[in-house]
Every structure is written in C-alpha cells, then in structure tokens.
Amino acid sequence: MVLLTAREVALRLRNGSLSSTDVVSQCIERSRLARVLNAFITHTHESAMSRAAEADRRISAGQPLSQLDGIPVAFKDNFCTKGVKTSCGSRMLRNFYPPYSATVVQRLAGKGTVMMGKTNMDEFAMGSGSVDSIYGPSRNPWSRSVRYRERRLGDAEPLRVQATSGQVSYSLPSSTEKQKTCEDDETLSDEDDWLIAGGSSGGSAVAVATGASFIALGSDTGGSVRNPASYCGVFGYKPTYGLVSRHGLIPLVNSMDAPSIFARSTDDLAAALEIVAGHDIRDSTTVREQYKPFSLPDDLSVKDLHVGIPTEYHAPGLSQGMLDAWSWVADLFDNAGAKVSRVSLPHTQYSIVCYSVLCACEVASNMARYDGIQFGHRSEQGSSTHALYAATRHEGFNDVVRGRIFAGNYFLLKRNYEKYFVKAQQVRQLIAEDYRHVFSSGVNVLLTPTTFGDAPSYRSFIGADNRTRSMQEDVFTQPANMAGIPAVSVPVMLSERGLPLGLQLMADNFHDKQLLTCAKWLESQVNFPRFDPVTDS
C-alpha cells in the first residue's frame, strides 16, 4: 500500500477499502522502520492520527475537502508550521516554534491532508547533499538496494572489509528484527558507507521514497528538490516562480526559491499543485492572472510536441549511465512522433558562478535578522549588543552559512556592487534570454539530465567542501531557477549500480500544465520500477 500513489490511495479511501487512519498508521510504521535514514527532524504522528480520523469522518460522510483529503504529507523544515518546530536544520532555529503557518502548509491542511512531520535538510537549505544539518545527514534509501549492495561488495578493499564485517541483510523486513538492524546501521554509519539523499530537500525525498509520506514539500532554489528526487527515484517538481506562495518559507534566495513538490507520480504532483498554487496576498511575487487550476489528461500524445536537447548539457563528467538514459528517452520521444532537436543555451554554463554571487548576496541580507533578539538561538555571552550579535551568529550558523554571509557582504560593499552583484544580475538576464529564445523558436520542453549520475556515496561526497559540491551538483538544475521556469525531475531507469536516474524536463514560464503532461507521458513510457528500498531485498 505504501508505494501506491496518492491518487490510488485516494480512490481506495473513497470506495472505503482503506481509511486515512490505516494509511497514516502505515506511514508512521514506515518512518519508524526507516528511522535510520534520518528523513525527519520532527514527527507529528499524534496530531496526524487525529487529523486522519477527522478525514475519515469527512470521507465517509461523502464530504471530502479535496481529492487529497486524508493523504499524508510532509514538509521540509524550512516551511513555518504553527507551534511545530521549524529549525531549518540549524542551531540558530533549534528552539523556533513559529507563531504562524506558511501559506502552502495552510492550504494543504485546509484541503484535508495530514502532516506527518518536518523533514531534514541542509542548514538553511545551503547544500546539495542533505549532509549539513545539525540533526545529522539524511541517507538515501537506495543504499539498501540489493543490486547496489551487490555491486558495492565487488568494490575496493576497505569497503569489502566493512561489508564482510556486517554479514546481514540491510533490509528491514519486520519490526522483530529492528533492534538488530539498528546496530547494523550504526556500523554502516561509522564506515560512511552509504549513499547521500541529495539535497537540500533530502529528507522530503527520502520520506516519499520510503513511504513515510505520499507527498512532501521541499524548496528548490538551485535544484534542491530535483536533485534529491533524481537520487531517490521519485518525482521532484519545481513550479514556475510566482505560482506558489513563499509566505512562510524561510528564504534562501528570495528571487529563486520555489516551494516544490515530491511525489510518486505526476498526477500526484498536479493534485498537490492544484491545492498550493495561486495568488497569495501575503506574497507579492505570486501571480494573479496566469494560473488556472488544471488536472492532467489521461490520453497522452507527444505527436505535436517539440523537444529540445540542449547541447551544453552534454557536459564533461556526465556518467555513461545518465548519458544512456538521456538518449534512450530522447529516442522514446522521437519514436512517439515528437520533434526532437538540438538546441543551444549558450549562457547556462555561467549559471552556477552567477548563482554563487546572487545567492551569497541574498543570504547575507536574509540572515541579518538572526541576531538572537526576537527569536532563535541567543548566545550566553555578550558584553554589548554587537558582541551578543557576533557570538549568537557564530554559535548559531555552521561554517557554510557563515561563509556565504561573508561572501555576500563582500559582494554588496559599495565598491564591489557593480563588479559582482550587477554583473551577476546581467548574466542572469542573459540566461533567461536563452530560454526565451529557445521557447519562442517553437520548442515546448527541454530534456536534460537532472544530475551527472546516480547518487554518490557519503564518503566520496564529503571529499569536497559544500561550496564545491553545490557548484557541481546544481549544474543542470540551477539555470531553471535563474529564469524562473518550471522543471521536473522524472525517474526513468536504474543505473548499472541499481540506483535511480532522473531526467529533467523544463518548459516555458507558466507552461506547467504542458510540462507535467509531458512528464506524465514519460512516466507512462519508462515503467520505472516501484521498488521498495525499505523492504524489497
């Protein structure tokens, strides 16, 4: 049941073959089983059970609030949830219990969905691995994939030693074996031999991949949803900027942050979008006119579709597996009658360096409020107001956050502003111009890899610093945020190592329906295995 899609569950809720209480209890059980993956910072199981009971009453009375009434959802820990800790994975907000809920949280609650908890993330969403959280890293559930394990057993010496020392099944078939398994996982963690979930919304991706939730919200500023979606084998969708309210989303880069959705199908993405999207008076950057609610058609055809393949995305470092997946899917489109052609996005290669300037600037500005006065961590020391600020901020932020604050303040100095910030803004315009050019030439969607390959191991990932990793990991995903365009990562196949590979589709601004329809067609073609990384072994 837990690997059904939300829509499939919703149908069973309607016909009475399942109750929301059943569904929620099973999700709770799943999150217990997968506890070691560290998907959640906070569980809200108790309130979830009572909300599920309410949903059941509504549904049996024939008055569901929406098609997702009674469906479990999870929120990345940077969406404010009234009275529920919202930490952003940071010491700074470890004691922050927001007095209000984000618009997306309110809207989903208002439509009957059941909040399962708050998911793990890189501190203040700065990262691409979900390894930089004060609550520890999230792990990719596919670390347990049998094929991956078999491959790994054939790996180099140190791994073999570790592997042989842990002569056990890594699956968690039943609760009776739980104790034992946890010990095993301790060993595993000591050896750093597991795969990263991707990030920064890794916890949400893991929650959906493991069946702890059906839908999860993340935030995508440079790929923070699409990247972990690709690594964890789920759908990750960043809507057009301005379609979904950011009110209550603790910002990383205001002009690029997009509340985004993880799900196990495109129909689920569309169902969740329908609830969260639309103008919000509390977010002046949400659009009034452009959004009309939609659902995806069932009879799909790509005959009139023009698919662009950006040549620049054929970048050095792209894994053979990903390249194969890419060409395979391009052929699928071609064979189905779509027009597939090469296009050029010449400026997208500058996206990452441009992003590193703009992100640092907004971070420096957005983080200025964390001074320990109104909320959050406050240092014990402080002989003066400024000494208090300094100590609070030093203690509250990790070095990644502090590093970006320093860089941002440097870029924003009067003498540097033109050199860095203004230049970066200009480059951003050029990148957006690239997309406009391509889409106005008749291309409907762009098809690219989401990531360079399948999920890297923690050990290899932490071999480079956060900044370097972010620059590497976000190469394919970041440009969409620059232009604000919608993008979705679709799991298409398993790699040689038995790990998920995701491809990215992008469309023009506010062409979200077209994008998701295309993704749905792709979903129907690739038959990505419904594999349960928790129990299948």
């Binding site: 404010c80 927001p98 989303l249 509390r282 950057t285 006065i373 009067k414």
Partner: protein, 546 residues
C-alpha cells in the same frame, strides 16, 4: 573682483590681513586701489552656509507600510507588531496601497515628477530596533523626484528676516521607507529595551537640495512643509511625537570656493531646534575653520538642554549599507490617464491624475489668494494660512458680514483680538467672542462710526464678557466717533493752550512733542476722535499761532 591669484594667496595665508595687503600691493601691480583689496579680503572672509534637509514624515495611515498592524502613537509597548515587523522568518512585505497614494499625493503637492515605476531596496545595518537587519527603502528609484517647494521667509524677531521674502528650494527626491523601532537604554542595569510599535510605520523621506543658507530659511521650509502635508493629510506633522523629524546637513565655504565638508544633525524634533541646531553648527564650523582646524564628516545629535550638537558615537564609523534590491517586492507601478490599464478597476491600481485632481488648495495658493484677491499683507496672509482656526474665524467674520473689507477685518483680528487672546492665554478656538459680533464691531469701524482706539476698547470689553450688542455699548459709553469738526477744533485749541512747552519744543524742531498734543485731544475726547483729523487741525493751529 578678486583675481584668481589673489584668492589663492588669501587662502594660503589664512586671512592674515596685514601680510596679505602688503604682499598683494607689491606683487600684483594691476590691483591698483588698496581699499579694493581690503574689500575683497572682507568678502572672502564672509562664510556662506549651505544647508540641505532630509525630512522624515510618518504617513498618516491606519496600518504600516508592509504589514497590517496598527500605527497609533500612544499604544502599549510592543502591542502593534505584526510578525513581519518583528522580522519573523518567512514573513514577506506586502505594500500598503494607502501609503503609496500618500507618497504620490505628497510628490504632486511638492511639484515632483512621479516615477511610474519605482523600486525598493534593502539598506543594511545592525541595530537592536531594526529587527530584520535592514530597512526597506527606495534608494535607486524613488516614487517621486525633482520637485520644488515655494515658501516665504519671514520672522519679525530675526533682524535679517523682517521683510517677507519668497524662496524656492528644490526637492531632490521623495522616497517611501520603513521607520525603525525605538531603543531605550537602561544605563543602570546595562540593558537595552526595544519597542517595535514604530518599526515598519511608513515614512516619506523628503530630501531637499542644499539651497538654503541660514537657519531661518530652513525653519521656514519645514513650517511650509508641515502646512502642505497637513493640507493634503498625508502626515500629521506632530514633531513632538516624532511624526516629522528633520536631519540637517550643514557646511560652510567662502563664495567662489568649493563646498565645505558637511556635518549632519539628526532627528531634530521641533522647528525651533532646527534653527538652533543649524546656527550652532554654522558657528562651530566657523570656529573650527578659523582656528585652522578641519571639519570631519560626521553625524550629530542636538542636545536641546545645552543647545549644542554632539557627535553620535555609535555611528562614528563610516557605514557601508550594502544596498541590495528588495527581492520580495515587484517594481511599484503607478499609472496616469494615458496608460491606466483597462483590465484594472480604479481601486486596483493608482492613477496619478485621479490623485492630482483630488489635491486640495495648497497653502501657497491660499496665501496668493489672500494677498492678491483680498488685499491682505503678506505677513497677515502667512499668519492666517499657518493657523487653520484663525483662518476659520476670519472666514466666519467675512461670511457674517460680506461687505467688510478683508484687510480691515484682518487688521482688527491681528491687533485687537489676538492681543486679548494672548493676554488671556487662550487659543482662537477657545474664543467666545462670536465671529458675528466681531463682524459688527468691524462694521462700525468700517462705517467710521467708531475710531480704531474705540475698536480696541470695544473688543476688550466684549472679549471680557460684555454681552450687549456693540451698537448699544457705544450708545451707553458714548463712544461714537466725533465727526463735528468744531468740537474737535475746541479740543485741539485746548491742547495747544494747555501745552505751551510742547508747542514750543515742536516748533523748535522736535516732532515727538507733537504726539503729546494728539494724546491730549484723544484723552479729552475719550478716544473718539480720528487721529488723522486731529493731526491736521493741530498742525494748522500751530502754524496759525506762529
């Protein structure tokens, strides 16, 4: 005129007059006359002050610039604080349309160009009463710019400004921005207490060109701005509550030389303090420069107890505000009739032309009307326009008796009624002498039924509670103006007869003794004679006798 060489020499010698004279006289033969050089030297020594103002005016609106919380001044501490005002993470600014309208209206009233697209910026600095660590303001593209404020400088108490003088000062820009909270420093307990009620209230920052050269001009500008903002109701201008705060930028230089280094005196909260602080600052600059010192660009505050300005230590270090565009607010777009979108309702967007049409009559226009249509003096027009209650009284009097000459009414109002009010320490709004009765007095005066002296007495009497109609009072006291020339003649003859010494002295060329004669007649006639007629007859008498 000084030659460039001469000017240069002056400067290098730091105003050592003797040396300068000798040197110039010997070195520059074409500078022929010695007094010319001295004159030039004197001129060069005349410091000229250059003053520009930055005025923060809180917008009269029920809610804050970017949040829905209230704005009342006297509310309980930290009781008008929306989540956004406390910079709670995840909250976003939502622009208050009323505040934008107030900004546009003010821009129009100050003859500014309205920018159809304006933008918001973040200005960063750390301070306990600035919860977000930045202020949202409009640095690059303000809502209005390039305006002008026209006003009259007039202060009978200031020797340089006894004659009303029209002045025009440029408005560089008008920007919308957030106010900060308030910090209260508890020195004893080493605590700082923060009140966020004010945090996020909408401000208009109005930046003037440095077109003023003394404190009275600056004070007059602030006064005029108050009148304008009150007329259009965009700010209540209560300086004592901080609704209107003035920062003054002051520098001095010599004519023909580059501008001097300026200092900024912040948060002046009364017009008197504006004048005092500027005067102090100018004197201070002179003292420093003349003793060979250097002016440091710094921010100061004004201590009203000592009348001095003091350096603000916490802002001593030069701040780099690291300006950045506010990413959460799209550019602010306003329209006019030519481009107002047909798809929008009139309530959905701001139309400059609609607001322009709603502008009330502004103070300058009111004064112009009073002077040119009603024949009042500039001083009286200033007085009326500066005081709504007085204006209302004045208008009621004229409405009660439309035949009255405005000039006569204002003259009686300003000399007699205001004197009574002043003495009784009452405001015009507290005056219980009804405009209708006041008008009756004026009518008697205008009809020459009474003299100005009688008018004064009559007003005093009625002000102090006499309830009889003015005509009856005159009857009772026999205060009719004496029009019988023979009777006046008799009084005058008596005056000449009884004051031979005064007559003699007057004849000897001491005109002030003449007043003694007039006074005599006035006393004897109980003030009921026209001093002009009395003067004429007296003069005739004196010349006849001789």
């Amino acid at each position: 005129m000084a030659t460039p060489i001469a000017t240069k020499t002056f400067r290098s010698l730091k105003h050592n007059f003797l040396k300068i004279n000798n040197l110039l006289y010997t070195r520059i033969p074409f500078c022929k006359k010695k007094h010319q050089i001295i004159e030039t030297a004197k001129q060069a020594d005349q410091w000229q002050a250059v003053i520009g103002l930055e005025i923060h005016a809180q917008i009269n609106s029920a809610s804050k610039l970017f949040s829905g919380s209230g704005t009342s001044f006297s509310s309980v501490v930290n009781n008008q604080v929306a989540l956004f005002d406390a910079a709670i993470p995840g909250t976003l600014p939502v622009l208050n349309k009323k505040c934008v309208e107030a900004g546009v209206l003010t821009g129009l009233a100050l003859n500014c160009s309205i920018n159809k697209v304006s933008k918001f910026d973040r200005k960063h600095y750390f301070y306990a009463d600035l919860p977000a660590g930045y202020q949202i303001t409009q640095q690059r593209q303000p809502i209005a710019h390039n305006g002008r404020i026209n006003f009259t400088v007039f202060n009978p108490a200031s020797p340089k400004h006894t004659i009303p003088r029209d002045m025009s000062v440029g408005i560089i820009q008008l920007q919308l921005e957030q106010d900060s909270g308030k910090s209260l420093h508890d020195e004893d307990n080493q605590h700082t207490l923060v009140d966020l009620n004010r945090a996020g209230i909408a401000l208009m920052e109005i930046v003037t060109a440095p077109d003023m050269s003394d404190s009275e001009e600056a004070a007059a500008l602030v006064k005029e701005l108050q009148l304008v903002l009150q007329a259009i109701d965009t700010c209540n201008c209560k300086m004592e509550e901080g609704s209107l705060r003035v920062d003054a930028n002051v520098s001095i230089h010599r004519p023909g030389e580059p501008l001097g280094v300026r200092t900024e005196v912040k948060n002046l909260n009364s017009i008197r303090f504006v004048a005092k602080a500027i005067n102090y600052e100018i004197a201070e600059h002179k003292r420093i420069l003349e003793s060979g010192g250097v002016i440091v660009n710094e921010t100061k505050s004004f201590d009203f107890k000592t009348g001095k300005t003091v350096s603000m230590r916490d802002k001593e270090m030069k701040q780099d505000y690291r300006f950045m565009p506010e990413p959460n607010l799209p550019p602010l777009r306003v329209y006019d009739n030519s481009d107002f979108p047909t798809t929008k309702k009139s309530s959905q967007a701001i139309n400059i032309d609609t607001l322009r049409a709603a502008l009330p009559v502004l103070p300058a226009e009111k004064r112009h009307h009073l002077v040119h249509q009603q024949g009042l003096s500039v001083a009286h027009a200033l007085m009326l326009v500066a005081d709504d209650d007085l204006m209302q009284y004045y208008n009621s009097v004229l409405a009660a008796s439309p035949h009255l000459t405005p000039k006569l009414v204002m003259s009686v109002l300003a000399t007699d009624l205001l004197a009574c009010l002043y003495k009784a320490k009452l405001a015009i709004s507290d005056c219980y002498l009804l405009p209708r009765l006041f008008a009756e007095v004026c009518s008697l005066l205008q009809a020459e039924a009474i003299t100005t002296t009688t008018t004064t007495k009559l007003i005093q009497l009625m002000f102090n509670g006499e309830t009889l109609p003015p005509a009856d009072i005159i009857e009772n006291y026999e205060w009719h103006k004496i029009t019988d020339r023979a009777e006046i003649q008799r009084h005058c003859e008596e005056a000449v007869e009884r004051n031979p010494k005064a007559v003699r002295k007057y004849r000897e060329g001491k005109p002030r003794y003449f007043t003694k004669l007039v006074y005599h007649v006035q006393t004897k006639s109980n003030g009921c004679t026209d001093p002009l007629v009395v003067t004429e007859i007296l003069k005739k008498l004196i010349s006849e006798v001789s």
